[in-house]
Each structure stands twice: as structure tokens, then as C-alpha cells.
Symmetry: C2
Subunit: 396 residues, 2 copies
């Protein structure tokens, strides 16, 4: 067990109709001029943006808006948001969307709070942030956990780099979470979200020591819960209870709770996928599903006790007499693949719909090394050769 | 499932040696003159107070100190702390101790922030707080969860009333949690703490609807974890891992996490025990153990599904063919009593060492009604007659 810090200051307002509290909440948090930041047309068409604007109007708070954030959100949109916010004296940012919109909002908030430096430097890890404008979220996709986390991932389309910057000062002041707002998502997006949610906790579960029992039982319970309700949503997307379970799990999976006492987690699968996302623009959760089974089989010998426990406690593998640890662990990975298939997720790159060349794989490995400053992973520390081997396993 | 809010802004610094960060952390949180508030002599004798003072000195922060907080902390000590803090221009309070010390510190913080009103009015629920001085904690007893919660319980020795006031503005800015600081506790205190920790989650578990699956699996995992490590500590009090599991469970059990989505919880056992604590000055956790089995048997018919689930998922009751729900539920309560006995806890008032008269029981019921503004409980709403019946069951 390692010493740890735990810090989740974001106030969560969870349930039906809560988006109508946006104006009042921003007022309580001192916002006096707001940038409403969102993604595609669905937030407009559904009337959500109008409801939020009405809530801000009622609270007497002026606002401007900027939509058009895409998945794997672009640095160029961040710069556009900064310019618009500056012009209008914005002092509070409200992200209305999923992880991409929230991360774009966080990057704008970093940039506005420190106009003397280029915000991209944070993502290049050449400096750390000293300030961040207050921001809040109205969550419409359960996946990234960005509504409660300190994470922010931005893609520089010019260089093809997808880079993360984590800092507690970007944690949202509040997040409004109405499960109904996720009901119109296409199934592929819903299930990619469930995959991402699970992976945020799995990344913290597979480590070389440091784990606490209470963290493990919370993680295992969370994973079983997400699996149960992901399957329900696959056939019954309008199920409110299932939407709510998944949505709340998404926040808990990535706010730090499921990593307390460990060594910081593995996160190699995430880093490997980030490169795929940077090169091919795949849906993040589906990309994770396409690489995790290969990662798991490649590294499991290095962290066998964890993989056995995972197989039994999360995947429900029954350990029959005579089974070796390796057989139990492999059965756990196979059960995970079966689950991915049941919810319409890929388990390799072919099913994901990408086919990188050998050279592209080497480029991804090189980029991953640059992004992480050398090897990644805790269950097994990955070298360049390890990364290439895992990418190739996932491609075959 | 009900709409809910979740708000846990307290920064947790967990692990060995973390108390030496107190000065620096207070500085970061803007404190410039500190009241160090503590309980008995053990914090002095162990050198803990000296280490904390050295940490404040190093950060250049002046401080005064006030010890002598007793279990079921007294309003008179709160007033003494307010006077001392006022004299010395204190703007930050550091509680070094367990729930009693932290609650005393919270009450001082409320009082100082609003000197025009009597702080006891908050506990009489004749007004709500508008401000609270910033406070932080160095936790030395895992039990009350006050290091992360919005709760505060104070006893007015003049009137014999033990009263609670809950408000988010009293949540500590940070809490330092070093499991080593709990190692010198007498076993009875350790196990009373474990009982209290479990009860904070059990109070949220037994409700009339509104529960979420993810909240339930977290609660059940937490309860099983506390039971496991409570037994380990009963025979091996110096076990760091066990101390750490219990300490972190204590915060999670009462910071709101295990109640998300439910109706606010039952809390009748706590309210019934508060009256016992007000009249007899018993150790809080032991008092809970002495009344819970009677409460459970009295109310279970009203909330049978929960009691059956609790028996199976938490207490590990094996449901044999032909067993009725009631038999399973009763087996769960018996298993809980067995656990209490294994860790040296009482299961009734006789074992607790108190013997209230019929008249005293009626007085406790009347006081409980006054404190709660009419009936209490969610699993079953308790009338005055119900309370008297439960007290008498627990006494026999």
C-alpha cells in the first residue's frame, strides 16, 4: 500500500431535470459571464441548449456559446473558444456534452487563466498550469469521467498528437448529471462509453502492488455493475435505472476512488489507444476494447495474481480443479472478449475497422514513447518493442 | 432511485508521516493563525502535538492550543475554544483527534464565523449556519467519519441533550490520515470505531427504496472489508494494512458515497444511541452495537428484501432450501451479533453496562422525538411506542 491523496471537490447534482439548476448553480459559484461550450447538433435539436440558456437568463447571467467540438477534440477549437471568451469577458465555462466537450472546456479554461503562455505547452509537459478558470459541466455522455476527474486530453490535428494533461485545478466546480440526457445516444457510443468507464478502473486495478482491499472490492463491484447495465442498455436503451447506474459509475471509475493506495495504475492501454486515436480518429472506448485483450495476454505473466483475481471476482470465471493460474487468467480475458462482443464492441483492430501498416505501428510506438517520456505501464513496464508486439497482436 | 447530490471537497492526505505536512497545507489553504484543538493526554505524550507544532512553526504560522475534548464533546468546551480563538485572532482550526475533537472544532468554527448568534441554536435547529471558519483535521481515531463528513454532534451537559447539525460548509478543507496514529488505541475504542464505521453505511443501506445497485455493491464491499480487518485488529492491533483499510473505510462510510440514490437513509439506530449517549455517556460505537440487533429484529418485517440481501451479501448467510425470508434475515442479525462478540462488542444494554429504568427509557424516547422533530427511520418509521419497545428489547 502506498501513501495517496484523494481530492474530488466537484459537487454532483444527479437526477431528472437537474439541468434546469445550471443558472442558479453558476451564480452560487460566482460566474458572471459564461461560455456555453458544446459538441454537435443533437444538444441544439433536443432543446437542451435552449433549456440551459433559459436557466442562465433566469439567473441574470449573460452568455455566449460555441459548438462544434468533435471527438478527440482539437486544439484549434480550444483556440477558437479562448478568443471568443476573451472578447466577451467570460469568467466561467459551462461544458454541455461528454468527455470531448469537457476536455475542450478545460483546455480553454487553462488558456484563459494564463494568456501569456501557449496552452499546448501543458500537453507537451514543458510546464505546469498555475491557474484555471472555473468551469462546470452538464454531462450528456457517460464515458470519460472528465466531469469529476483532473484529466484533459486534446488532439493537435496539425501534428497528429493526442496528449493528456492532468491537474487538480481543472476539476469542475459542479457537474449536472441527468441520465435522461444520455438516452438518445447511438448504441455504439453508449457501449464505447461503458468500455471506457470499465477501463478507467481496470487501468488502476492492474498494478505491481500497492493495492488496498477496500479499493479492490469497490473496483470489482463497479466493474460488475457496469457489465450488468451495459448489457441491459444494449437491448433497452431507454432504461433510466441502467442509464443512471452507468452514469454514476463513470464518475466514480475515474475520480480517483478506484486507485486509492496503489502505485498510480497501469494506463498502458489508454496510452496505446491514444496513438490509435491520434492516427485514425477511432471512438475511444471501442479503441480500448480493440487493444486490451492483446495487452492483457501479453503482460499477464508479469502480474498473474491480479489477472487471476480479476477473472474470478469480476468475470465470474469458475476455477475448476487442475486449472493453472494462467488458464484462469486467460479464461478471464476470453470472458471479457465475450462481453465486448455481446455489447457490440470490437476485440481487435480488424473488428475496429483499422489496419495500420508495420510502419504506422512503429510510428505509434515512437509517438507513445515521446508522449509518456519513456516506457509506460505498471502491470508490466512496456518498451518500444513491447508496444509494437501488442499493436501487432491486436492487428492480427 | 432518487435524485441526489454528492459533495466531498475535503482533500485527503493518506499514509505514513503525513502529519508533518500540516503546516504547509494550512499555508496553502490561507490559514495565518491556528487553533490546535485536541482531546486527552495521549496526543501530547506521543509527541504528535509537538510534531504538528513544529510543522506549523516551520511554515511560519502562529498557533494556540486547546486540549481536553471528551467523548460526546461538550458545548462548554466549544465556548472555551471560541473565546480562546477570538482572543488570538485565529482564522483556521486544526482538529487533532477523532470524531469528538473534530466535531468540537466544527462547532467552534461555526461559532466564530457568526459571533452574533448562539452556536447552540444550530443544534436546536432553530436556524441554519451562514458561515464556518475553515478547518482541517489530523485524524487519530477511525470511527466517526467526521474528517470528511458534514456532520457535527455536540452534547449540552446542562440539559443532557446530544444533538447533531449537518452542513456542507463545515466539511474540512483537508484531512491528514496516518494509520499509524491509531495504533495505540485501546482495543475497545478500535472496535467501537469499526462498529460505528459499519453503522454509517448500514444506516444508508436499510431504506424504503431508492437504492442504486452501484451504491449497494460499494456498501456491501465496504462492510465485508471492515469486518475482515476489525477481526485482524482485535488480535493484531499493530497491523498497518488493517489500520489503513479501516481508516479509509471510515471516511468512505460517512462521506455520502454509500447513500447515493437512496432516500437519505434510516439513521434510527444512531438517533436511539444518541439518547443513550446523552444520558449515560457510553462509547458511541458500543452503544450502536447494543441497540442495532433489537432495532433490526423489530423493523425487519417492514423491509424484508433488504434484510435478506444484507444477510446473504454482507454476513455470508447461506440460504438453505426451505428457509423463509424471515429466517434468512434473522440468521443475518444473529451472524452480526456473533461478529460483535468476536470483536468484543456488546449486543444489548446489559453487555454495554447500562440498565435504564422504564421511566428513563420513556425520557429517552421523548428526547429522541424532540431531537428529530417527530418520528425517525426509513426502513420503518418509528413512533414513540416503537422506540420504547426497541429500547426495552435491547435492555432485556
Amino acid at each position: 500500500m502506498f501513501n495517496f491523496q484523494y481530492y474530488t471537490p466537484t459537487r454532483i447534482i444527479f437526477g431528472k431535470g437537474t439541468e434546469n439548476q445550471a443558472g442558479q448553480l453558476i451564480k452560487e459559484h460566482g460566474g458572471s459571464s459564461v461560455l456555453i461550450h458544446y459538441g454537435g447538433q443533437s444538444a441544439l435539436r433536443s432543446g437542451l441548449i435552449d433549456r440551459i440558456k433559459a436557466s442562465l437568463d433566469q439567473a441574470g447571467i449573460p452568455h455566449v456559446e460555441l459548438g462544434g467540438v468533435v471527438p478527440n477534440p482539437h486544439l484549434s477549437k480550444v483556440r477558437e473558444g479562448m478568443a471568443l471568451a476573451k472578447e466577451n469577458g467570460v469568467d466561467f465555462i459551462l461544458a454541455v456534452g461528454g468527455g470531448s466537450v469537457i476536455d475542450s472546456a478545460k483546455a480553454i479554461a487553462y488558456g484563459l487563466a494564463d494568456p501569456d503562455h501557449d496552452v499546448w505547452e501543458l500537453f507537451q509537459h514543458t510546464r505546469t498550469a498555475t491557474a484555471c478558470l472555473p468551469l462546470a459541466t452538464v454531462l450528456t455522455i457517460a464515458a470519460a469521467g472528465s466531469e469529476m476527474s483532473n484529466s484533459c486530453v486534446i488532439t493537435n490535428a496539425e501534428t497528429g498528437e493526442k496528449r493528456a494533461y492532468d491537474d487538480d485545478i481543472s476539476r469542475p466546480k459542479f457537474s449536472i448529471m441527468n441520465p435522461e440526457l444520455t438516452m438518445t445516444l447511438p448504441d455504439y457510443q453508449t457501449e464505447s462509453g461503458c468500455t471506457d468507464i470499465m477501463m478507467h478502473t481496470m487501468e488502476r486495478y492492474f498494478t505491481q502492488g500497492g493495492n488496498m482491499e477496500i479499493t479492490d472490492v469497490i473496483a470489482e463491484g463497479l466493474l460488475r455493475t457496469v457489465m450488468k447495465y451495459a448489457e441491459i442498455l444494449h437491448s433497452d436503451p431507454g432504461n433510466y435505472e441502467a442509464r443512471a447506474e452507468i452514469m454514476w459509475a463513470g464518475s466514480l471509475a475515474h475520480n480517483g476512488l478506484t486507485g486509492c493506495g496503489n502505485d498510480g495504475g497501469d494506463f498502458a492501454t489508454h496510452m496505446l489507444e491514444h496513438e490509435m486515436g491520434g492516427m485514425f480518429d477511432v471512438t475511444h472506448g471501442a479503441g480500448l476494447a480493440a487493444v486490451w485483450p492483446s495487452w492483457a495476454r501479453y503482460v499477464m505473466d508479469n502480474d498473474m495474481d491480479r489477472f487471476v483475481r480479476y477473472a474470478v471476482e469480476v468475470m465470474g470465471v469458475e476455477r475448476k480443479a487442475g486449472m493453472s493460474d494462467k488458464e484462469v487468467a486467460l479464461a478471464g480475458v476470453s470472458a471479457m472478449e465475450d462481453f465486448y462482443h455481446r455489447i457490440g464492441m470490437p476485440v481487435n483492430m480488424k473488428e475496429l475497422g483499422i489496419a495500420p501498416t508495420d510502419q504506422q505501428i512503429e510510428e505509434m510506438a515512437d509517438s507513445c514513447l515521446r508522449a509518456t517520456g519513456g516506457g509506460i505501464g505498471s502491470a508490466k513496464r512496456l518498451t518500444r518493442e513491447d508496444m509494437i508486439a501488442i499493436y501487432k497482436m491486436a492487428r492480427e
